[in-house]
């Protein structure tokens, strides 16, 4: 168990409001990721982090920002939520060792933007 906690697990908000999702890990993993999951699209990478204050964009980063001020926390922020950002968001950590980059996922945060 890589000790990942996502919060909140469920959130309903209105268009135009800011939203922050939190991913907390307890095992000092260097790499952390935010994915979104939508029907027919599998998992798509939003942003990832390769260390404190080190982040990079994924394939669907528009409308999202991230921050990692300490190893254990990776925050995903929607500055002004839109209905197209209704989705299930998964945080993941890269398991240590090797070159194959296996991921361990949190349980997800379901966001509904009305």
């Amino acid at each position: 168990d890589a000790g990942i906690t996502q919060s909140p697990r469920h959130k309903v908000t209105e268009t135009g409001t800011p939203v922050t999702l939190r991913c907390h890990q307890t095992e000092n993993h260097r790499y952390m990721y935010w994915y979104r999951q939508d029907p027919g699209h599998g998992l798509r990478l939003i942003h990832y982090s390769y260390g404190v204050k080190d982040t990079d964009k994924g394939e669907v980063s528009d409308g999202y920002s991230v921050s990692r001020s300490k190893t254990e926390d990776f925050l995903l922020t929607l500055e002004s939520a839109t209905s197209s950002q209704t989705s299930v968001y998964f945080c993941a950590v890269r398991l240590a060792g090797g070159r194959t980059g296996e991921l361990f996922f949190g349980e997800g945060s379901r966001l509904t933007v009305l």
Partner: protein, 113 residues
């Protein structure tokens, strides 16, 4: 455009039947992973293949990496209702670099008793 294409996207079969799920790409990957996801949970890693032509078995599940490392397959023998779930393939390395995984769109498998 999906970098990794899975087929079929939906599959519903009877208990005891065999099935194969495919994961195809035009890109070469250094590794290919398969995950299984159940409702309300995050994906869980099943296996990683790294060598072209590699075959790995996990009980009734057989995973194969294509010789050119562009495709993979998952074969389930004598499917059980407990095999029901969303199966995702994910490629590492290649165009996306070593730090990121790209996922297929998933195959939703239902095994009927």
């Amino acid at each position: 455009t999906q970098l990794l294409e899975q087929s079929p996207q939906f599959l519903s079969i009877q208990e005891g039947e065999n099935l194969t799920v495919y994961c195809n790409s035009s890109s070469v990957f250094s590794s290919l992973q398969w995950y299984r996801q159940e409702p309300g949970e995050g994906p869980v890693l099943l296996v990683t293949v790294v060598t072209g032509g590699e075959v790995k078995k996990l009980k009734r599940l057989t995973f194969q990496f294509g010789d050119a490392r562009k495709d993979s397959s998952l074969h389930i023998t004598a499917a059980q209702p407990g095999d029901t779930g969303l199966y995702l393939c994910a490629g590492g390395g290649g165009l996306w670099g070593a730090q990121k995984l790209v996922f297929g769109q998933g195959t939703r498998l239902t095994i009927n008793p």
